[in-house]
Structure formats: structure tokens, C-alpha cells
């Protein structure tokens, strides 16, 4: 019995990492939704795109190599350099900022006063565009993400827990690093929102567009800022997921898991996104652990959605969220 309990704790700790990833993707959604009322379907693809860019830049891959070679009959694939991780991350972050500018300039600008559903459709278009564009730019193969992150089972934790409980916990060091990065990221975002001039402007825009304009805030500038932040948060998620299972197109599927996270946490709440992600990440692992022997099957595929459905029925605004559906 104690044995099983300890094992359950280990399982939930492992779920934490997945949960944090869900949280980061959901966080990107929440930021954009708060500031512009847009439900950004492309958030998951942005995670993938960021990760592809990071890997490509780091390995000195020539962007659009296939296209260039096909058109000019050349055979260039690589610049022949290997960027240090920090430089590659910084460059990728810049690419995400450029992407945010492009999204504002070519999409949002033209849809300012449109219905939310039209903006939503636009982001679906953006998602598929970005998926194709990412593949064209960096190729479609699975690539390992090679960053100097700690990986492997932490011996310290294993031996420490073994001494205390007679049972060694298997915790991936990467999980611990991910948790730390996520914590720092969220904390700095919260501080930024609360205390900086731009943070105040962001909150103002989230509250009332007209009023924000009247005090001199440029909505378009704020949108670029918020999409950039969402892109950089996506980059962080992409790094962690990529470090664990390689950078591949299935990465964008985690965006689908972000949906139930949003239903749990509320569409406008930053703490909600974090907590929602963790609950679902840990919840689905634990549920699988306890229920799989009884009902079998891949419960992780549906658990999150079922939990979200229950939440929708009993608390439609999520844990901390405000009213999500306009009254009719």
C-alpha cells in the first residue's frame, strides 16, 4: 500500500512536467485572448515553429534550402556553423517577434472590428500557413534538440528518497529544469504586467479598447508586444518538449491539450492557465495509474477532455476566469 502511494507520488511528479508544458501553451492563448479577444488557434503551431527555428538556426541550417536548391539547382544545406545555445535562443526569440509583427501587419490590422469568430478563422488560416511555412523553411524531419540542459534521472533525488522512504524516486533532471524555467518565466511576466508601463497598457487594453485608445495607447503596438510574448512563451514550451521527445510536427498537437486546460483555468487568467495545466498534466497521469488496470485503454487520450467537460457544466468560467460566454 505504502509502496503504491509512493509510486503514485512519483507518477504525479512526472505528470508535472507535461502539465507545465500544457500550462505554457495555455499561457500563450490566455495572453492573446486577454489583450485582443482573439482565440489564437495557431498557438500550438507557434510552439512548433519556434522549436524548428531554434534547431535550424543552431545547426546552421539554410532556411528554405529545398526551395532554393530546386529553383537554382544548387546544393546548399548548411552554413557550416554551430551556434551556441544562448545565441540560437536569442535569435529564435527575435524571429518570434518578427512573426508577431507580420501577423499584425498582414492579418490583425485588417480585422480590427470584425466578429471574434472571424478572427478565430483567421488564426486557423494562420496555423495551417505557419505549419506549411515551417516545413518549407526548415524541412519536415524529426530533429533532436541539442541544448546543454540537464537530462537523465537525478541520482541525488533517487538516493535521497531511497534512504528516507526505502523507495527511490525516478525524476528526470529535465523536468526539474523545466519547472524552474517555467516558474521564472511566469514570475517575470506577472511582475512585468503589474509594474511596467507596457504592462499597465496591456492590462488597459485587456479591459477596454476604446478607453485604452483615449489615453494614447496604440492597440496595434500592444498586439505586436503580446504576440511576441506569446511567441517567446511558445519558444520556451518548444524547447522543453523538443528536449524530451525531439522536434517534430506532432508537437503542435499539445495545443489540443491546451484547450481543456483553458476550460479548467479560464480563458483570461494567467494563474488559471498555470494551475489548469498542472492539474491536467498530473491528473491524467494519476488517473491512468489508478484506472488503467480497471478500465484499460489509453485514458490519457480522453481524460483531460472529460475533466474539462465536467468543469464546463459546473463552473463554466474556469477556476479563476471571468465570464467566458456573452449572455444572449
Amino acid at each position: 500500500m505504502v509502496e503504491q502511494l509512493l509510486y503514485a507520488i512519483e507518477v504525479s511528479l512526472n505528470g508535472l512536467m507535461t502539465g507545465i508544458l500544457y500550462s505554457l501553451v495555455a499561457l500563450g492563448f490566455v495572453l492573446i485572448f486577454k489583450a485582443s479577444g482573439v482565440f489564437n488557434y495557431a498557438q500550438g503551431i507557434m510552439v512548433l515553429f519556434a522549436a524548428l527555428t531554434l534547431v535550424g538556426l543552431q545547426a546552421g541550417q539554410v532556411p528554405f534550402a529545398h526551395l532554393i536548391n530546386a529553383v537554382f539547382g544548387t546544393r546548399i544545406y548548411s552554413f557550416g556553423w554551430n551556434l551556441p545555445a544562448i545565441a540560437a535562443i536569442a535569435l529564435s526569440a527575435m524571429v518570434m517577434v518578427v512573426l508577431a509583427m507580420a501577423v499584425e501587419k498582414f492579418i490583425l490590422k485588417f480585422l480590427v472590428h470584425q466578429e471574434p469568430v472571424i478572427l478565430f478563422m483567421a488564426t486557423i488560416g494562420l496555423a495551417y500557413f505557419l505549419e506549411g511555412f515551417g516545413e518549407l523553411m526548415w524541412g519536415g524531419e524529426i530533429k533532436p534538440l541539442d541544448l546543454p540542459l540537464p537530462v537523465g534521472i537525478s541520482d541525488t533525488i533517487e538516493s535521497a528518497t531511497f534512504e528516507r522512504f526505502g523507495y527511490g524516486f525516478f525524476i528526470d533532471k529535465l523536468d526539474i529544469a523545466a519547472a524552474c524555467v517555467a516558474a521564472v518565466l511566469v514570475l517575470s511576466l506577472v511582475l512585468f504586467f503589474q509594474y511596467s508601463k507596457i504592462g499597465r497598457a496591456l492590462r488597459a487594453v485587456a479591459d477596454d479598447h476604446q478607453a485604452a485608445l483615449s489615453v494614447g495607447i496604440s492597440l496595434r503596438y500592444i498586439w505586436v508586444v503580446i504576440w511576441s510574448i506569446a511567441g517567446i512563451v511558445g519558444l520556451a514550451a518548444g524547447i522543453m518538449w523538443g528536449a524530451k521527445s525531439g522536434v517534430q510536427f506532432s508537437l503542435s498537437l499539445i495545443a489540443l491539450k491546451a484547450l481543456p486546460v483553458l476550460m479548467l483555468g479560464g480563458f483570461t487568467s494567467i494563474p488559471g492557465a498555470i494551475l489548469g495545466g498542472i492539474i491536467i498534466g498530473v491528473g491524467e497521469k494519476l488517473f491512468d495509474f489508478f484506472m488503467n488496470p480497471i478500465i484499460g485503454g489509453a485514458t490519457e487520450n480522453w481524460f483531460a477532455y472529460m475533466l474539462a467537460l465536467i468543469f464546463l457544466v459546473f463552473r463554466p468560467q474556469g477556476l479563476f476566469g471571468e465570464r467566458i460566454i456573452e449572455r444572449v
Binding site: 512585468f192 509594474y195 511596467s196 508601463k197 507596457i198 499597465r200 497598457a201 492590462r203 488597459a204 485587456a206 479591459d207 477596454d208 476604446q210 478607453a211 485604452a212 485608445l213 483615449s214 489615453v215 494614447g216 495607447i217 496604440s218 492597440l219
Partner: protein
């Protein structure tokens, strides 16, 4: 009136220079002609009222001035220069602040934060400086905070400084909205029905604030108001609109005796 205001010889009663001039403004929404060839000016230091029956085009006019609407025809001149078509946040940066007919506050922010946000155009520190808690950025924040507190004192809303404004009663929200507009230290202050829905006492307070702002800071004010008593009392000059057209323009005494105006008001039930 303070000594300072006296020594600056504030032009009173619309005798100052022209601050803003609207020439031949026409604004259409599809088939609706909201404003039809309206011209008038606003002089430095005056309180200029815009009155007229419901749907006359008053709010549309204020929206044109603040850049929310863009007229199909006409010119806008501000401080001696023709203003190109401008988005609202740029207009705000030029020193034109406003309130809205249907209060537009940052509902989840506190009173203090709302008023601080009103100073957005006056804040200079870059994002990077702020992110690093760099000395000057912090000093700037403190200065802005002091100015904001002064406005809070002026409006007598110390008790609600830390309360999210969405939870405040209507009259107080109107007051906070005025405070946010004042915080920008505007050259031109636009007020769309600042006293709508208020009781007599609240209206008196609001009139007092408007007169004090005009007196003490020399702020030029353009306001829309339905309460004739208040309008006649506080304004220097009045524009009267009806069905998108200007039907009167002058001092309160002249407006009171203007036959067009009398007809428009008797002909339309409020």
C-alpha cells in the same frame, strides 16, 4: 483663483486664441448623415458646450475631434495647424483627453491605476529601463504617482484609491473617468455628458470640478450636456446641433433667445 493663474492673464469667456477649428465637417454612416457641414471653433481657455436633442450628432462630433470617427469631408485645425486624419491614440498624444457617454474605464484596475494610466502619454522611460528597475525610471514612476495623488485629492476620491473601479457606483465612476482624463494634463478636455444620470448634488459637484479645472489649470473644455440649467451656468459659448446640422452658436444669453433653438427644443420631446 490662484495668483499664478491670475498672473498668466488667462483669457476668459472665449476671448483667447483659437485652439481648435472645425471647418465644414460632414460625417456619414452608410445612409445616415450624422454630421452635415458643421463648422465652429474652440478658443483657448473657454468652456464650450455642444447641445442638441438626442441623435443630433453631438457625440459624433466629439468622436471626430478625438479621432475615433473620421469625417468624409471637412478640415480639423489644432493649434494653428491642419491635422491630418489621425488615429485616436495619436490625438491623445497631442494633448486631447476625453470621457465617454457610456463610461469607458479600466474596470478591473483600481482608481489609482486608472488615473496613472491616464498619464500614459506623459511617461517617457523605455521598457528596457523599466524592466531593469533603472533609477530614472523609478523616479519617473514616483513623480507620476504624486501627480495622480493630487488629482485624487482634487476630486475627493481618496477613499476609493485602491478599489477596482468596476465595483464603484455610477457617479463615482464618472468622477474617476474625469480624473483619468485630467491626469493627461490635456490642452483640450472633451466631456461627453459628464453629468448624465446624476442626482442634483452629484451634478453640483461635477459642475464645480469642471469650473475649477478650467479656472485653476486654464484647461480648455468642450462638453456635451443635456441639463440646460447647468449648460447655461458653466459654459462660455454654446454650439447647438439638430439633425446633424449646426442651428445656433453663441453665448448662453444669445442661445436662450435663438428662435431656431427654441423651435428645436420645443419640437422634440426628451
Amino acid at each position: 483663483m490662484s495668483d499664478k493663474a491670475n498672473s498668466e492673464a488667462k483669457p476668459k469667456n472665449g476671448s483667447g486664441e483659437i485652439l481648435m477649428e472645425l471647418k465644414g465637417i460632414s460625417l456619414r454612416f452608410g445612409g445616415v448623415l450624422a454630421i452635415s457641414d458643421v463648422s465652429f471653433d474652440i478658443k483657448e481657455g473657454e468652456i464650450r458646450a455642444i447641445i442638441g436633442p438626442n441623435g443630433a450628432g453631438k457625440s459624433s462630433m466629439l468622436n471626430v475631434i478625438s479621432g475615433f470617427y473620421h469625417p468624409q469631408e471637412g478640415e480639423i485645425w489644432f493649434r494653428g495647424e491642419r491635422r491630418p486624419s489621425m488615429r485616436p491614440h495619436r490625438v491623445a498624444a497631442q494633448g486631447i483627453a476625453r470621457t465617454f457617454q457610456n463610461i469607458a474605464l479600466f474596470k478591473r484596475m483600481t482608481t489609482l491605476d486608472n488615473i496613472m494610466t491616464g498619464r500614459m502619454t506623459l511617461m517617457k522611460s523605455s521598457f528596457a529601463a523599466q524592466a531593469l528597475w533603472w533609477g530614472p525610471a523609478e523616479r519617473e514612476e514616483t513623480e507620476h504617482r504624486e501627480k495622480a495623488e493630487r488629482i485624487i485629492d482634487f476630486l475627493g476620491i481618496q477613499a476609493i484609491r485602491k478599489i477596482p473601479v468596476g465595483t464603484l457606483p455610477y457617479g463615482l465612476q464618472k468622477r474617476v473617468e474625469l480624473g483619468r482624463a485630467l491626469a493627461a494634463e490635456p490642452k483640450l478636455l472633451l466631456l461627453d455628458e459628464p453629468m448624465a444620470g446624476m442626482n442634483v448634488e452629484e451634478k453640483e459637484d461635477m459642475s464645480r470640478f469642471i469650473l475649477d479645472v478650467n479656472d485653476e489649470f486654464g484647461t480648455t473644455i468642450a462638453l456635451i450636456e443635456h441639463d440646460m440649467g447647468v449648460v447655461m451656468d458653466i459654459s462660455d459659448r454654446i454650439v447647438v446641433m439638430d439633425y446633424g446640422k449646426k442651428i445656433g452658436d453663441g453665448r448662453p444669453a444669445e442661445i436662450r433667445n435663438n428662435q431656431h433653438v427654441i423651435d428645436a427644443y420645443l419640437g422634440v420631446a426628451h
